[in-house]
């Protein structure tokens, strides 16, 4: 089979639709993750998802069901506990550890664990069915729709919480909304890059974008663009050269961040030379 034939096979086509939807949602949410400095929460939600997915597999359910239940639960827990206790990091850390332990337990209970565990941890995009693509796309577009409707209040609450509260926004509601959207985004991103590499789509593109532009809408669009570029090219390279798609996506997204930093540092140096 040559490359052209390979790219038009149904499993690559499924993967193509799935990565497109997920990259857009993750790129958009990533913008807020970086802005709100909640990368640790994103990290924890993914790990909690691992327990959910492992539990679902053990019970003979689709991993995505377990992911949704556990990730949403973790998002709400972090939102409620972190806000009221004022010690977000601790709450997140304890949640993370407890659920990883639970995940280990579920895996030990499930006999044919190796394959399932591997795909939860590192992603398994080349095996998704049409049904899963439909679910992933629906969830991704729901996230995008919600982000577009809540963009301004979310941005306001992220950059000036006190003023936002003074203007009548509920910070708790905003935070819970953000974490729920983050949970759903994490679930879909795990489908492609897995629990351990979820940052590649959720943080790296947004981090690259925020280095390159100072306008929030531009950064949001650029973050989605970088995520999409990494996902598409990663899928293509995975099919063409071989190797896990999640590896390629992670490598590309991380390089995008590296390149952004290099571009930024040469730009700063030039500005300095001009003003000197």
């Amino acid at each position: 089979m040559n490359l052209a034939q390979l790219l038009t096979t149904s499993f690559v086509e499924h993967a193509y639709y799935a990565v497109t939807a997920v990259a857009l949602a993750a790129g958009a949410m990533g913008f807020f993750v970086v802005l709100r400095r909640q990368a640790f929460a994103a990290h924890a939600i993914g790990h909690v998802g691992f327990a959910g997915a492992a539990g679902a597999v053990w019970l003979g359910l689709s991993p995505i069901v377990g992911l949704l239940v556990f990730c949403l639960g973790a998002g709400l827990l972090i939102g409620l506990g972190g806000a009221s206790l004022g010690e977000s990091d601790t709450v997140v850390g304890v949640t993370l550890t407890a659920s990883l332990g639970l995940g280990v337990l579920f895996i030990s209970l499930y006999s044919g664990y190796a394959n399932a565990t591997y795909s939860i941890l590192f992603g398994q995009i080349l095996g998704v069915s049409w049904g899963e693509v439909g679910l992933v796309a629906t969830l991704s577009f729901a996230v995008l729709l919600a982000v577009s409707l809540t963009y301004r209040p979310l941005l306001f609450a992220s950059v000036d919480a006190q003023s936002a509260a003074a203007r009548g926004l509920s910070l708790r509601a905003t935070s819970l909304m953000f974490l729920s959207l983050l949970a759903v985004t994490t679930v879909v991103a795990i489908q492609i890059v897995g629990v351990l590499l979820v940052f590649s789509l959720l943080v790296a593109p947004a981090a690259a974008a925020q280095v390159l532009t100072s306008r929030p809408l531009h950064a949001l669009a650029l973050s989605m663009g970088v995520a999409l570029w990494s996902a598409w090219l990663g899928l293509f390279l995975g099919v063409w050269i071989g190797g896990p798609v999640s590896f390629w996506i992670t490598a590309l997204a991380s390089s995008a961040y590296l390149v952004a930093r290099l571009v930024d540092s040469t730009r700063t140096r030039q500005v300095r030379r001009v003003s000197a």
Partner: protein, 283 residues
């Protein structure tokens, strides 16, 4: 009619009385300085006026109505804003959030650009409005934040420590700008500060909060030895310098606690080390 009035007002948070029996009013076009040691409840007062904290006793009226959250006639400038350190936000974007930040949905108000531009012009921030907030100087950021707070030309403007962490020249600039906003918009302005002297030239009234009590009046009525000695429960002396700055002697414990800072034996109300101490605590 006064813009703001409190009568017999008390606030308790978590069962602890913050201050009690405060009665004062604020008139249109006046500037009121809110002073007192750290943790005395100055910011709490602003939160009460914003409708974010309820009084445990007494009455509060803002424009003749009970305080309610999200009142557009009340502008607010927060003391700490993560906007200041955010790389992807320009001054213009931040002021724009003052205009439609709380609004959900896709709609876009056509007048936004014009209203934001007017607020930027009023505060003299147009020339650096398109630079990221994190690249601006402390004084420039405070000017942008004033534009953000006054984007709707509020009738009551609440400023939480607008002079904190600024050098003396920048402080003077912000004081002039606050005065200019009062003169051009006719707003009543309430400024929380830890330092009366930089504000003294523009202040009409003073509100002093200490030991859970609130005293209000003109500068002469409040910042005198009798009132402050009574408020703090031990004798204080006030020395007025040749330039009219007031130095208060006898409050070292009150202000230095809980983080003693240096060994100064007088607390000038406009003393720089005090500003340093303040920053340290709020970082």
């Amino acid at each position: 009619m006064s813009v703001l009035s409190l009568a017999g007002a008390s606030v308790s948070l978590g069962g602890r009385v913050i201050w009690r029996d405060a009665s004062f009013s604020v008139a249109r076009g006046t500037i009121t300085a809110v002073l007192g040691p750290n943790g005395s409840g100055k910011s709490t007062l602003l939160n009460v006026i914003l409708g974010l904290i309820e009084l445990s006793e007494g009455e509060l009226e803002v424009f003749g109505e009970p305080a309610h959250r999200g009142n557009r006639r009340v502008g607010f400038m927060a003391q700490t804003r993560s906007a200041d350190a955010t790389t992807t936000l320009t001054g213009r974007d931040y002021v724009g959030l003052g205009f439609d930040g709380p609004r959900f949905g896709w709609g876009r108000d056509r007048s936004k650009g014009e209203v934001v531009a007017r607020a930027l012009a009023l505060t003299g921030t147009t020339s650096f409005a398109d630079r990221p907030m994190h690249s601006l100087s402390g004084g420039q950021r405070q000017r942008v934040a004033l534009a953000h707070a006054s984007v709707f030309k509020p009738d009551l403007l609440l400023l939480d420590e607008p002079l904190a962490a600024l050098d003396l020249a920048a402080q003077a600039e912000i004081v002039d700008l606050i005065n200019l906003i009062r003169d051009t918009t006719g707003a009543a302005i309430v400024v929380v500060a830890h330092d009366l002297n930089p504000l003294a030239p523009i202040v009409d009234r003073v509100l002093w909060i200490a030991r859970r009590q609130v005293r209000s009046g003109t500068v002469e009525e409040v910042v005198n030895e009798q009132v402050l000695s009574d408020l703090y429960g031990h004798p204080v002396e006030i020395v007025v310098t040749a330039r009219g700055r007031r130095v208060i002697v006898g409050l070292e414990e009150e202000f230095a606690h809980p983080h003693p800072h240096g060994h100064d034996h007088s607390h000038e109300v406009g003393h720089q080390h005090f500003a340093d101490f303040y920053d340290e605590e709020n970082r």
